[in-house]
Symmetry: C2
Subunit: 149 residues, 2 copies
DNA sequence: TATTGTTATACTCTATAACTATA
DNA sequence: TATAGTTATAGAGTATAACAATA
């Protein structure tokens, strides 16, 4: 399904339900855009987080992206197969793998960033810039409190 | 994974990503609450929409809930097996099934409504009532424009 | 004992193709 | 030719259990 329920339904009265539906739609929108680069959201999250925070262990990275570390192994395998990331042994802890971007991975970042921004602007176009800022602030506040637990 | 990524990550700068993550978390929260009644979100959507709009065809109902009609058949089968809904032949169109709540289904609604409200309030607790209203308005506006296509 | 990475498995959600019976 | 309901199937996302190597 690519379309959301009509506005006449009563479920739309619930903010929680709206949040779940629009969140899913946002993800679909984003997933579709990433398809042009043959990437999925988890790949995007991994690459962007690596770019932002530098080399990290798989556990740290997985938690930052919001993916279960056990399900993250395959995601990294796929990125490694495309030579976008590398796994190195951690200098002092032999259990860990230090994950980092390759040159190819870094080169992809420019495209990834513009694609991300364009896709987001496309999705949020119905809102004014001020409303977009409001939405971002409200979501940030929710996000902050939820993750504080 | 039951926890969202930390606030320090750069993905949180993207409203679209926040939307997708918090939407998923809202759904998890809601799914978990519905578990106490051995129902899933699709069941909840079907029952609440039936209560609001009265008897409807499967197609109409599926679209109102936001589920692909092909995937909706099983959902209705399960509700019917628990005798919460009934399928009747449509009086003038023999292709259609008229779906409606049973008495048991209607009796469940009270629990469903209080559970829905309590769950939503729990999730949105970090926001003030005014902020909750703001969020609802913004999401409604997005929802309306998206479904207008 | 606890943690890192891994494999295997399962369940839900979502998406699509193909069929039937009716219109 | 189009629509309503159905069946079957496949993929992505998510979750859990169990294991080896290491701390």
């Amino acid at each position: 399904m690519s379309s959301l329920p009509e506005t006449t339904d009563l479920l739309g009265g619930s903010t929680g339900y709206l949040l779940a539906m629009i969140g899913a739609e946002s993800r679909r929108h984003f997933t579709h855009a990433l398809n042009t680069l043959e990437l999925r959201p988890a790949h995007y999250g991994a690459l962007m987080t690596l770019a932002a925070s530098g080399p990290a262990s798989q556990q740290t990275l997985a938690r930052s992206v919001g993916i279960d570390p056990r399900n993250f192994v395959q995601t990294l395998d796929q990125l490694q197969a495309r030579q976008l990331i590398q796994r190195h042994p951690h200098p002092s802890d032999r259990r860990r793998h230090q994950v980092q971007l390759t040159e190819a991975g870094q080169q992809l970042l420019t495209q990834l960033r513009t694609l991300g921004e364009r896709t987001e602007q496309d999705f949020l176009a119905p809102l004014t810039p001020h409303e977009q800022q409001q939405l971002h602030d409200l979501l940030s506040k929710l996000h902050r409190t939820i993750t504080e637990d």
